[in-house]
Homo-oligomer: 330 residues x 2
């Protein structure tokens, strides 16, 4: 199995990317093909010890930046590290692609270069949110700002498959993000989606879920349109930052509070790691006809390594094949 990595995408590329690849080769015996500036990458890889037989470098001359408009990046930067990585999946030269680069460009590239699975109307970004049960999968985390009820149902099916095949959740529950827990609540979209979800036999639908219950872990998979999903994802980040900042102020306010901080240092570190996005190895773009994982823009080496690990599980669990079998195309 070969995993293609966009060697130049992300805030800490290529340094963290290279270190993450090395760790994945050493820990998972991953076979990697990385795209990017060959000289730069070779210099970075030279710093580490690993089995060179597991690594191939493909030289590319362009880089997709965060300012690039998605479709322009796809059409105008065909020799970018990101688009070449996607091409490798399209041409079956790699089994999966991982990138920490421009999300919009990656999603557009996934749609235009790799393409949708027949029958999947809208592929979705699937993100793991921290919750009391460990994590909750959120789809769509932002690929589709406007959605139809049938899209939401397909998000539920695809999210359930990912939860089962990659995260080993047995019979995952699916909840619909809504403004009340009772049936009949919601806007036009969620009311219509509810009707379809409760009839859908491929999922274990447990009804509406209010936003306050998402961190409770009341469902394994929560589904919503990509606008709402993006708001959820970013608000969790914002509220966590806000509260951790307030907590820091409490601990830094004087000598005694600094002493208190020392006493609970390990506990706070553990708490922070439980909130850490990098644990869950990035967000798959489920519904495209290949394994495509978006790693967080600020991924460190551990996040890249984990993303590679989850990409391997995505391929081993044949998520694409399972989605094909579940959602029959025309």
């Amino acid at each position: 199995m070969k995993i293609a990595i966009d060697g130049m995408g992300g805030d800490h590329a290529p340094f963290s990317t290279v270190k993450g690849i090395v760790d994945a080769i050493n820990e998972y015996n991953a076979e990697i093909v990385v795209t990017g500036d060959k000289t730069v990458l070779e210099n970075e890889f030279a710093k580490y010890s690993f089995d060179k037989g597991n690594l191939e470098i493909i030289h590319t001359t362009q880089v997709v930046t965060n300012d690039d408009k998605p479709v322009k990046a796809v059409k105008g930067k065909k020799d970018s590290s990101m688009m070449v990585a996607l091409e490798l999946v399209k041409n079956n030269k790699a089994d999966a692609a991982v990138s920490a680069g421009n999300t919009g460009a990656l999603l557009a590239g996934g749609l235009l270069n790799i393409g949708r699975i027949a029958g999947v109307d809208r592929p979705a970004l699937c993100t793991a949110l921290p919750s009391k049960k460990g994590f909750t999968l959120l789809l769509d985390a932002g690929a589709n700002a406007d959605c139809k009820p049938i899209n939401i149902v397909q998000f539920g099916i695809m999210g359930s498959i990912y939860a089962r095949q990659v995260l080993d959740v047995k019979n995952p529950t699916v909840g619909l993000v809504n403004v009340g827990s009772e049936e009949g609540k919601g806007n036009e979209l969620t009311k219509a989606a509810y009707e379809l979800l409760k009839e859908e036999k491929l999922i274990n639908f447990t009804g509406n879920i209010e936003a306050r219950d998402i961190p409770e872990g009341k469902a394994d998979v929560v589904v919503c349109d990509g606008f709402t999903g993006n708001v959820i994802l970013k608000l969790i980040e914002g509220v966590a930052d806000f509260l951790m900042g307030k907590l820091k102020n409490v601990f830094m306010s004087g000598l005694i509070s600094k002493l208190a901080a020392l006493l609970v240092k390990d506990g706070l570190k553990q708490m922070k790691s439980e909130l850490d996005y990098s644990e869950y190895g990035g967000a798959p773009f489920v519904g495209v006809d290949g394994a495509l994982i978006k790693a967080h823009g600020s991924s460190d080496a551990k996040a890249i390594k984990n993303a590679i690990g989850y990409a391997m599980k995505y391929v081993e669990g044949d998520v694409v094949g399972e989605i094909k079998n579940s959602i029959k195309g025309e």
Copy 2:
């Protein structure tokens, strides 16, 4: 100025409600007319010392419960403490109404019994969220699950008036909740709303605001449809609970960490109070033709007292008149 209070609405009514009323009479010299079971209320009020001349009790025989459907409550419970409080505003026997009861019933009662200001298409629930600047006003926090672009603009106008007249914010900034900060981002609704907002001269529109920047306080007023607003409001509650729970686990894990908790006790208390909804005295239902304040369902006496204080400011600042002048009706 007379403030009508729903004496039976809320999780801790009538006990917290009565205590809150007593405190508001003693601190603000508020003139109160409270609705509810006269015997129950009189027994509660007998426990406290205050100027009885500032209090009138109107006996009602029904109570709107949290399980009541909104329109059924309005039509079927005309002699409830909630609906009679609204009638008092409608008939100019009170200047404002405060209730901690069933939100849906209160909003429906506000629309059907008090009615909209001419020209206001959709009144909105206006909630104060904690932020780095103290607070950020969110409209619509859940009154209108589906919205049109013009509704969002009116939310901006009404929120700005409330911020200015009640919370003393000079030239409040207005941000549109969206999935990216650049112009052109969003779903169909936010793209269209953006175009209208940037032309609107009655507000100080500063563009899109991502959900992660809401707790940063990047805008004084943030506007969105009521579905998104409800998700934001409840998710902040959920994430805060989740993190405070994790923090509690850290502090309770052993003797040393318990000692640490003691050392920062005051700081943590202060942090908690900064996150406390009750500080901001409930959410006005802006755009109805009267002052109507929804206090949190779990309001304690302090929250009720603050809600009464803000109701008084709402009347003194003539928010209804200002909205009438800004949004000319047909």
